[in-house]
């Protein structure tokens, strides 16, 4: 049999031994030997890949949360560390259980469960009891993520879902805040600035004690609140890091913060005796944390820039509405979850511009 083709062994054989002697010219094309298993990898193009992975993204988001986490621990002491650890451990454990149960590969090493756990912990009061943390983690990962099929398929931000379920089920524990105190020893129950504002509004007392908050304290984060939400400065630093690393895009934070600023500014301008100024709204509550770390969650936000702008605007608008007139002091979680459910519709109506349709972008020679 003709043997015009040798297989490529790793050790190169002497060349030229493949001499196909034309024994007899047949009509039938001589079939080359079936090639034994190749020594090389066969795969579809492209053959190079960007050095990026889910684990890398999650890792860098965790890194971006470091300043805010560290500040929260500094401010609220060891019990905050306990809360965060429980949330992270609970989330990772829940993911293991869910994936074992479903018989799929356990993917805790990609860091997404840990990130959800950390985000959940950062939205809890520093003195949250252990069972709140664990229930939150189970709800976030189990209900928020694996019920829908796991990472990538969840329509709602898992951490926010966990938090909101806790907020509705256990309002007393979830709104028991303490003034910042190292070691938690001198912890005194005290309401968050938004809580004060809410209370004053319900009692028709104007702005109440909320006006006493110093804007520089708010910026640095010295005020009662959830573990990871108080320091605008630390959250901004993390957000800018994510922007620089391109794990988030500017559109959602800018649209969301812009809408909150514009909306609150409008009412403040109409009646400053009943409404707080925009800087107050920007720096209190979970807005900064949400705008950079939760609304921007890839899985649960729209795909294109146009869609993200609409999404961010919606999040901002709902936040303003709920904060100014709603029954909950903290509006951001509800706003984002509501907008999460609008994502499929937004995606449908904001496809990217298809080449060859509509108006082409400015091209041609540079002047």
């Amino acid at each position: 049999m003709d043997e015009p083709i040798e297989t490529p062994p790793t050790a190169t054989p002497p060349q030229g031994e493949a001499k196909p002697p034309p024994k007899k010219p047949t009509k039938k094309p001589p079939k080359s030997d079936p090639a034994p298993a190749p020594d090389y990898v066969l795969s579809s193009s492209p053959h190079i890949r960007k050095a990026i992975s889910i684990r890398r993204i999650m890792g860098e988001v965790l890194l971006a949360l470091l300043p805010a986490t560290a500040f929260g621990l500094y401010l609220f002491g060891p019990h905050a560390l306990w809360v965060l650890s429980l949330c992270v451990a609970g989330s990772v454990a829940t993911e293991v259980v869910c994936q074992r149960w479903a018989g799929t590969r356990v993917t805790i090493s990609d860091g997404s469960a840990a990130l959800t756990g950390l985000l959940l912990g950062m939205t809890l009061p520093p003195q949250a009891p252990w069972w709140i943390c664990l229930i939150g983690a189970v709800v976030a990962i189990g209900l928020g993520k694996h019920v829908f099929g796991g990472l990538g398929y969840n329509p709602y931000n898992p951490a926010l879902l966990g938090r909101v379920v806790l907020l509705i089920s256990f309002p007393a524990q979830m709104t028991a805040y303490y003034s910042p105190g190292w070691w938690g020893v001198d912890a005194v129950t005290s309401a968050t600035p938004l809580g004060l504002l809410q209370e004053a509004r319900i009692r028709s007392m104007g702005l109440g004690e909320a006006t006493q908050l110093s804007m520089s304290d708010a910026f640095f984060g010295f005020m009662p609140g959830s573990i990871g939400e108080t320091s605008t400065l630390a959250l901004l630093a993390g957000g800018l890091f994510l922007l620089w690393r391109r794990h988030i895009t500017w559109d959602i934070p800018v649209a969301m913060l812009g809408t909150v600023a514009a909306g609150s500014a409008l009412f403040w301008w109409i009646d400053p005796s009943r409404y707080m100024p925009p800087q107050f709204h920007l720096m209190t509550g979970g807005l900064m944390l949400a705008a950079f770390f939760m609304a921007t969650d890839m899985v649960t936000s729209p795909l294109t820039t146009r869609g993200k702008l609409i999404f961010g605007f919606g999040c901002g608008l709902l936040t303003v509405i709920i904060r100014l007139w709603g029954g909950y002091a903290e509006a951001v979680s509800f706003a984002i979850l509501l907008m999460n459910s609008a994502v499929p519709i937004i995606d449908k109506y904001t496809p990217p511009r298809l080449y060859g349709t509509g108006k082409p972008p400015a091209q041609g020679p540079k002047s």
């Binding site: 066969l42 890839m298 082409p360």
Partner: protein, 454 residues
């Protein structure tokens, strides 16, 4: 008449990526002339269209440049012997596309004796149809990789309103430098070829598009073009366009948009917007075919990659087996993957005897450590693929449809507009093989349509 500079800078297109280019491995290596191969395997299908029909039989002696496969029908191209010697086999042999293809094997006699080439003195009085015939007879096809028979692209329908010829010297694929070296070393041939094509098409404007990472090529092309008669006399309006380095700048759709501001309508051809695009290598081959009567028997190939000790560029006789080239450029045991073409769109090979064909612009040898196989994860909707898609598709949505076998549904995401550039797969953090899934969707949608004619 003193000409002002032909060089002009252009803006970039939307989307695209900046992969590591690795062009420095070979972009200063002059084109090497390699010893003749002992044996060539010449597939009768080195172009898009009907394969050529063999017109030699086993045992025949052939001369270099002699036709061994005749074009079959209007969209086809002849194949020529690339060495002189004896036809030792005609049969099915591995082809860079991954299939086995009817091929003619020639064993060299070492003499490289050429057929008598036709005499050509000038083309002044020759009509365009004759020129097209010469180009077709020489077996010229698109050398940029598309391998569309050049004659077909030179015969636009009467209705086409052409005004611009784009010569594509962008060479945006990482690693490849064959076009770059050709522009630096043989700009004259490209310029002549460009002028010829412009004449046949009857267009008055030629734009040579070159990425801004090839400054020397830009200068050489300008110099060569300035020497052309029609340019000196002002009959031909020529621009050397410097375009930003970004992949896939050399894609027809991107290059045309960048150079002319026009976009090819979905499913259309460059002709629909008055443009014809030819690769620089094709222009050079056209010039040889017309001015020298020389058939296409060799091309410039970049043999490169970290798996080689001494990567470089070479003028290679078609049909030369990959093994010979890899050995000539210091390939050893460190082979993880062998790719014909560039890393973004090339085809991985399983066989070292696969021959260089007309569309082979490069052979890329990746070392084992560069070859990673990662687990495919679900789409996390990071939208990286959408940001880089130069066409404005939603690659993730098509891939999700394909995964769920919802092919009819995938159609609403325009899979047929995809140019398969691979940018989406390149950036996906979930290692989703997006292009592969889009190709899959295309095939399935096509067969769905065939089954159920509307």
């Amino acid at each position: 008449m003193a000409l002002t500079s032909l060089i002009q800078r252009f803006r970039s297109f939307v989307g695209g990526i900046h992969p590591p280019y690795h062009k420095d491995l070979t972009d200063h290596q002059t084109i090497r002339q390699l010893p003749l191969p002992e044996r060539v395997i010449l597939p009768l299908s080195q172009h898009i269209g009907t394969p050529a029909t063999a017109c030699v039989k086993v045992g025949d002696t052939v001369l270099t440049g002699q036709m061994i496969g005749a074009a079959d029908g209007p969209v086809s191209a002849p194949v020529h012997a690339t060495i002189s010697g004896t036809v030792t086999a005609i049969g099915m042999y591995p082809h860079p596309s991954g299939r086995e293809v009817q091929s003619v094997v020639i064993e060299s006699d070492g003499a490289d004796e050429w057929v008598a080439l036709p005499k050509r003195d000038g083309i002044g009085g020759v009509d365009n149809d004759t020129l097209r015939g010469w180009i077709a007879d020489a077996g010229v096809v698109g050398l940029g990789g598309a391998t569309f028979p050049t004659r077909v692209k030179m015969s636009p329908p009467e209705t086409a309103q052409l005004d611009t010829l784009v010569i594509n010297g962008a060479e945006c694929e990482p690693y490849l430098t064959a076009d770059h070296r050709l522009m630096v070393e043989e700009a004259g041939r490209i310029a002549e070829g460009g002028a010829l094509i412009a004449r046949i098409l009857g267009v008055g404007r030629v734009i040579v598009g070159i990425e801004d990472n090839k400054a020397d090529a830009t200068v050489c092309m300008e110099k060569a073009l300035t020497r052309l008669d029609p340019v000196r006399s002002g009959r031909l309006d020529v621009t050397v366009a410097v375009v930003p380095t970004k992949y896939p700048q050399g894609g027809e759709k991107q290059l045309i948009a960048v150079l002319t501001g026009r976009e090819i309508p979905s499913g259309g051809l460059p002709m629909d917007v008055g443009v014809v695009v030819h690769n620089v290598g094709t222009a050079a081959a056209v010039s040889d075919a017309v001015l020298l009567g020389r058939p296409l028997v060799e091309r410039v190939v970049t043999v490169t990659g970290e798996g080689l000790a001494a990567p470089g560029n070479a003028r290679v006789r078609l049909g030369t087996p990959a093994r010979a080239l890899i050995e000539a450029f210091g390939g050893g045991e460190q082979v993880g993957k062998v790719v014909f073409g560039g890393p973004m769109m090339g085809v991985a090979q399983f066989h070292m005897e696969v021959p260089v064909i007309k569309g082979t612009s490069g052979i890329l040898v990746l070392p084992p450590e560069a070859v990673t196989l990662e687990d495919i994860r679900p789409c996390i909707r990071c939208s990286a693929c959408i940001e880089v898609c130069p066409i404005g598709l939603l690659p993730n949505m098509i891939s999700v449809c394909a995964e769920q076998l919802a092919f009819a549904e995938s159609e609403q995401y325009h899979p047929f507009d995809c140019i398969e550039c691979g940018c989406c797969s390149y950036v996906c953090p979930s290692y989703r093989p997006l292009v592969q899934m889009i190709r899959y969707a295309k095939t399935e949608v096509r067969s769905l349509k065939q089954k159920a004619p509307h």
